[in-house]
């Protein structure tokens, strides 16, 4: 009971610091995800349209994913130096696989008849992609974003190891100074962030899925 009380006391006393860390955490995740969407969707489209490129692209993003996160961040540090930027690049790379793969699968799942109807009615490849195929694969893409977001929230806690901030700072400080309340508060808030991201995106996904 004692530790629970001290946990809440810590949060009340340090809410401004925790809020700042949470905000930094969210900023890193959103930037990383946005980059992944920006690069990942075109890569997914390319894989779906080009059968020869598909295995190359999918294998590459797969390999990135199997790298242990701490090792990947370490390697990135060598190229990008310490700090926020490196963390965002790391999160971007980690989010790529779910987004590329789900875009690819989503586009592949679009019914052949629908594609034929679009082409037959006089859509060019570009119009078919933007008016029909991408809207229809949106639920798949959103499922990918959901997975990516949860992973990114977790990986972002490693940011302090390479000079970033975020909730990982609270955890790392707690380990170094042997203050469990710091570890708990960082961990609980980042867990909450992951849950919120999952629920929100899950709801959005349900909303755009066509009955």
């Amino acid at each position: 009971m004692d530790s629970l009380a001290s946990f809440f006391n810590y949060i009340i006393d340090n809410w401004l610091l925790l809020l700042t860390l949470t905000w930094e955490h969210i900023a890193m995740v959103i930037l990383g995800l946005s980059l992944a969407l920006l690069i990942g969707i075109p890569l997914g489209v390319l894989s779906a349209k080009n059968e020869k490129l598909a295995p190359v692209i999918l294998a590459t993003v797969n390999i990135i994913q199997v790298f242990p996160s701490i090792a990947l961040l370490g390697i990135l540090m060598i190229f990008f130096g310490l700090g926020f930027k490196t963390v965002v690049v790391g999160l971007f790379l980690y989010s790529l696989l779910p987004i590329v793969r789900n875009t690819y699968v989503g586009l592949r799942e679009v019914n052949g008849n629908i594609n034929q109807a679009g082409t037959g009615l006089g859509m060019n490849a570009f119009q078919l992609l933007f008016k029909v195929q991408l809207p229809l694969s949106a639920p798949f893409l959103l499922a990918g974003v959901r997975v990516a977001a949860v992973i990114a929230v977790a990986v972002a806690t490693l940011a302090p190891f390479i000079g970033g901030e975020g909730l990982g700072r609270s955890i790392l400080d707690g380990i170094n100074s042997r203050q469990p309340v710091k570890i708990y508060s960082g961990a609980v808030i980042s867990a909450l962030l992951a849950i919120i991201a999952d629920l929100t995106l899950g709801r959005a996904q349900k909303k755009i899925t066509i009955k």
């Binding site: 008849n113 629908i114 034929q116 109807a117 679009g118 082409t119 037959g120 009615l121 006089g122 859509m123 060019n124 119009q127 029909v132 809207p135 229809l136 066509i210 009955k211």
Partner: protein, 379 residues
């Protein structure tokens, strides 16, 4: 008119899908391509909107070689109805119907007016259905939308790839009837692919029977039924249907070949006299070249009788419907029944009168065709 000339199609794997196809599809007619699966009917149709390109040969629309037209532009001017409906599930009915007009950059108001007009045309209330999604409609309603989507931008040519094959039998018949009814007004050049002979016989102006990538026989439903080219065609039509045709007489065999006629310039007293003599209440009016011009009834004559200046042509009605002598009697009877008319004039293609089909002549024919029935009843 669509013309296919010397078409060969060999697929990349060496499979010869079409061999020397020559085909005319007349403007304003429904041409039905029919045959067993793998006969090349769908391939032939897809050549017309260049979803597939032929290996050899030329295709012309009204004399214009379609290989000179950009395929995307071409497809926007050719309506297309596909087998599994192919409505876009993420678009409302309104958006679905308006796809091609939108691609052609019509203004929103014009698209909206057109969508309402088309929905009314197939008996779906625009207020109710415009904002719905395809999944909220029944299969029959969905394919109605598929058909009017193809009509939306007023293309002169429409391709239909087994459009009704996935529907239940009742919806299928309804849609076939609707198509025939629509076609009377819209007069499009329609190429229709099916494997269902009943469907082909019902809707076709021309039937093209295909097998193994060649055209086996081409002709009107009547010609195909009466003169099947070979055993394959007979098999495909089925003995049941062939027998029906052989048993059913044509209008020409049944009609009264000497109907009571009168010239339009005759007076009314004269008309009354003819009716009295021949014991009829209606006279068919033909001019000196035996061209059918109309009819008068005894009722019309008595109404106008006091007016000495009136002639037959002044009180005459024109016929809304005429038939040909080679029409099947069964069809003619159905037509008389639908129109609730006791008789139909029979004319040649040039409009000259050859006879009249009356209820009396039909009963007379049945009397001679089934003499044994009477005996059986007596016994």
């Amino acid at each position: 008119m669509i013309k296919l000339e010397g078409i060969n199609k060999t697929f990349d794997d060496g499979y010869e899908a079409l061999k020397d196809i020559n085909l005319h599809c007349n403007s304003g007619e429904i041409t039905v391509l029919i045959g067993p699966s793998g006969c090349g009917k769908t391939t032939t149709m897809k050549l017309i909107n260049r979803l597939i390109n032929q290996s050899e040969g030329k295709i012309y629309f009204d004399g214009e070689d379609i290989s000179d037209i950009n395929p995307v532009e071409l497809r926007r001017s050719v309506g297309y109805v596909i087998q599994h409906v192919g409505l876009f599930p993420h678009m409302t009915i309104e958006k679905n119907i308006g796809v091609v007009p939108k691609l052609l950059k019509w203004e929103d108001d014009r698209i909206k007016t057109r969508v309402n007009e088309l929905l009314n045309m197939v008996g779906l209330d625009p207020e109710t259905y415009r904002q719905r999604y395809p999944s909220e409609l029944s299969g029959g309603q969905q394919q109605r939308i598929g058909v009017i989507r193809a009509l939306a931008a007023e293309p002169p040519i429409i391709l239909m790839d087994e459009p009704f094959s996935a529907l239940d039998p009742i919806s299928r018949e309804q849609l076939q009837d609707e198509l025939v009814r629509l076609q009377k007004n819209i007069q499009k050049t329609i190429v229709f692919v099916t494997h269902d002979m009943d469907e082909a016989l019902k809707i076709a102006d021309q039937i093209v029977l295909m097998k193994d990538g060649v055209i086996v026989q081409q002709g009107t439903p009547e010609e195909i039924l009466r003169y099947p080219a070979n055993d394959f065609v007979e098999d495909f039509i089925g003995q049941k249907r062939l027998k029906q045709v052989q048993d059913i007489p044509t209008v020409g065999e049944v009609m009264n070949e000497k109907p009571v006629t009168i010239s339009p310039t005759r007076g009314l007293a004269e008309a009354m006299k003819v009716m009295e003599n021949k014991r009829v209440d209606t006279l068919i009016v033909v001019d000196n070249d035996n061209q059918l011009t109309g009819y008068i009834t005894v009722y019309d004559v008595t109404q106008a009788f006091d007016n000495v200046d009136q002639h037959v042509k002044d009180i005459m009605h024109t016929f809304q419907h005429t038939i040909n002598a080679d029409m099947l009697l069964s069809n003619a009877i159905r037509m008389m029944n639908n129109l609730q008319t006791p008789y139909l004039p029979v004319v040649k293609d040039d409009g000259s009168l050859v006879g009249v089909l009356t209820r009396g002549s039909i009963v007379g024919y049945i009397g001679t065709a089934y003499p044994s029935v009477k005996e059986a009843v007596v016994n």
